[in-house]
Amino acid sequence: MTAPFPFHNTSALTPYQGTWDLLRAGHLLRRTLFGPDQRQISWAVSHGMKATINTLLTNREMPAPPLHYKGDHEPQVSIGKTWISAPYQENIHVTQMARRSRSLFAWNMGLILDDAISIREKMVLFWHNHFALRAIEDPRYLYRFTTTIRQHATGNFRALIRAMTIDPSMLVFLNGNRNHQEAPNENYARELLELFTLGKGELAGPGDYTNYTEQDVKALARSLTGWQDIGFLATKVGQNPEAQFIPDRHDRESKQLSHRLNHQVILDQGMNEYQEVLEMLLDHPATAVNLCSRLYRWFVDAHIDEQTQQEVIQPLADILRNSDYELTPTLQALFQSSHFYQINVMGTMLKNPLDLLTSLVRPLSITIPLPLSQRYDAWYRLFDLVRGLQMDWYELPQVAGWDAYYRAPLYYRHWLNAATLSPRMELVQRFLEEGYPAFEGNGPRMLLSPERLLDRSDWSEEAVLFTENITKILLPVPLSSTSIFELSRLLDGSRDSLTWKQLINHDDQESILVILKERIGIIVKKLTTLPEFQLT
């Protein structure tokens, strides 16, 4: 058996020059969007790789903030207005926290379902995984956190890491707010080195992690002293979540770093000291390598062998450093590379719960109700389904993020095991059969519309061709012609009924249309219950 495409290209980052078709365009969009539909993939095919990548990476306006959409828990905010600047009220703040969280999560799902050809939301989730946090109870804090990430999602990593280091949620989560000169708290400094920037190297000796040592953890913790968050569950008008520097809490002694960081000494610089620390970490070559490895595992493949390290990760890291930590050139180089379009990376990623859900509800277009409160309810319902499948991007399981993106050898396979299998299968089945109530009460149900998978003008009268086109939207790699042929016979119905071709030539009749839709439903059900559909 021979592979139809070359497995390996000696210069992996050379721009891809091969065929640009539904397979390649679909691969690019499946990895960079949430559940691309036929319209988006066709657009990418006709505009070409370069224009598609440019569009994906184009900066977008920031979205309007989440809204107060129902309930009487917001005496100062009317329905349809945002709560992000509204203080809490003493006696009802518990309800306010719960309802604002719902609003925030629903709003975030709404952004994910947006139909723009933009990588932004996938990068936002990447950063949520990179700067993993949990148990931040104030939704105003979380709104600020996710907004900061969104602002810098494809911007400059220097700006992002600066903002994260003194972000109010991060100060709470990794105890930066408890870190002061008399008692340095190591929590943030340790994760800054181990996860956010340099990355941990091999253990080379006692307390020596190759890229840094325990001494550096302590020294950096001291450099970062003095910062605190204010505004947690604030009841005062005008008090937004903020970071403040309190000079008395800052350690003004100089800090001696280890040989791993060239015995540098950090002198007191008060509130600017953290920036100096970050500059030092950005100067270190390991930071860009760590970031590019994590981007690679997020977008391409979990397994990084020596060759990939040399031919892909290292050159990407060079681009990142040479562009002064602007992310766009690195992402551009990755997505246009011949390496990215190798057949051997297609369909090798087990979908995370969010990819699984969106790969159903976007191409098979569920209807989200329009009225504000129903729309938010529907979005929240979808968020909750993803959370039920063990993916909650405001409550990460570990500070290192989801197992799928760092833990060898299972990597993406962590998403699917005996406990998550049934709920994943049930999700697919239920969306196809009875749907989920869009909002509380006896409202309409969110159901998939298989007949909307392909535009009516693309309904081929050839059952095989029609089937093939459907599989190219729904599955990450093409099926064999035998499989396609066998599937296509489902469109022809049973022995005594009208064939697909006969039906489609009379699709102006309502009764015929009903039968057509039914048959498309059967074939979509078959395809979405294939193991291939669990992959991207």
């Binding site: 340790r190 063990q390 095991n417 299968m425």
Partner: protein
């Protein structure tokens, strides 16, 4: 047909089927976040030195529960003291590994793989060492991890030998087996095989687990906590005849960098004491349940965490990542004693100091593999190193 070899490893045994040396079971309780061992098991002869380093979080000496002359337990662990008196619980002091690593996930990887800390081994200490092989018709899972994830202790070269379980009643309602496509995308095809295998195994195991859950029972009340319910389910499955030999339960929340005890409570209330209370009561219920059903002799349990915490408390009323810490083992066949001698606490505790290791955890693993599971492959367990058996089990 599945390939017989995957990544050069045998998927199915070609000759004999799975060999079980005995019917013994083991329950691991993983304490996530890094348990503060020094506030769990306290060396009372060094109380003053400890107190100087961590006065904000310590329980007064008079409130501790004495276990042996020099070793006392946190008062929240009264359940474990009772088990100790009944001969069903022991303590191992200052357990860790050389060259400690203070990263949560790297340290947990070392604990679950049994690797030297400067080496990255992807296999788990159980996955590598027990007579486990991929076998498609297996009815009883080798190991069960409670929750939505699988345990790294059971990671083999290719697949993980533990099956995750949330609700023993839910596994039976799977959709029909999926049809497989024929394709030449090799890496993609490997993932498809993984999914198909998971489905097949889940269906097989689901029926067995469901049956065991129906036949099994509990004879005591359990705490209404997550851990309590995990152990309750495990006891029910063992009682119902499930042949699974390894169960992994989880208790999270031990990363107590700040406010680990409630101020003004003499160190007896707050996050960490609540976790200890849950741990002690849940283990006690579990062992009493098994004893009443005559199953305690077949079950052994062990707690472990990725690391202990630093000796000095920080000024946030918490403790930062440290090194070694005490752990508990329990069961009807254990030697109820305190193993090891407690390392000396310095007069003036240096900044960032953790508790030095007195017992390498791999001694415990080796003892379990050799004496409890009577594994035949022990020589391959921890290559290049020699470990000694400890007196964890009664010799009769």
């Amino acid at each position: 047909m599945l390939p017989l070899h995957m990544n050069g490893l045998k998927l199915f045994p070609s000759t004999s089927l799975f060999y079980r040396s005995n019917q013994r079971k083991m329950v691991l309780i993983q304490l996530n976040g890094g348990n503060d061992g020094l506030n769990t098991v306290i060396p009372v002869s060094q109380y003053d030195r400890l107190y100087r380093a961590r006065s904000t979080i310590m329980v007064p000496e008079s409130k501790l529960i004495a276990l042996e002359q020099d070793i006392s337990l946190h008062p929240a662990l009264v359940g474990l003291k009772n088990l100790y008196n009944d001969g069903m619980l022991g303590v191992a002091l200052a357990v860790g590994y050389p060259l400690p690593n203070r990263s949560h996930f790297r340290s947990m990887d070392v604990m679950t793989s049994g690797s030297p800390s400067d080496k990255i081994w992807q296999t788990g200490w159980l996955g590598r060492n027990l007579d486990w092989q991929e076998y498609p018709e297996l009815k009883h899972p080798y190991a069960i991890t409670m929750g939505y994830a699988v345990s790294n202790t059971c990671q083999g070269e290719v697949s993980n030998f533990s099956t995750s379980l949330v609700d023993p009643w839910s596994l039976n309602q799977l959709p029909e087996a999926l049809a497989k496509s024929k394709e030449h995308y090799e890496r993609h095809q490997e993932e498809v095989e993984y999914i198909l295998n998971t489905i097949r195994q889940t269906r097989n195991f689901g029926q067995t687990i469901h049956k065991a859950a129906s036949l099994g029972k509990n004879s005591t009340e359990y705490p209404d906590s997550d851990l309590g319910q995990q152990l309750k389910t495990i006891a029910q499955l063992i009682s119902g005849g499930l042949e699974t030999q390894v169960y992994i339960a989880n208790l999270s929340g031990f990363d107590t960098h700040a406010e680990q005890v409630m101020s003004g409570s003499d160190g007896k209330q707050g996050k960490h004491p609540e976790l200890l209370n849950d741990l002690g009561r849940s283990i006690q219920s579990f062992m009493m349940d098994l004893k009443r059903q005559g199953l305690d002799q077949d079950v052994f349990g062990l707690t472990y965490s990725e690391f202990g915490r630093q000796i000095r408390a920080n000024e946030s009323g918490g403790t930062d990542h440290g090194d070694a810490s005490a752990l508990f083992y329990f069961g009807g066949a254990v030697h109820a004693t305190v193993i090891g001698s407690h390392p000396a606490i310095d007069q003036v505790v240096p900044d960032q100091a953790g508790l030095p290791m007195a017992i390498d955890i791999r001694n415990i693993y080796q003892t379990i593999l050799e004496q409890w599971f009577q594994s035949k492959q022990i020589q391959d367990s921890f290559p290049g190193t020699g470990f000694n058996n400890l007196e964890i089990f009664r010799s009769n």
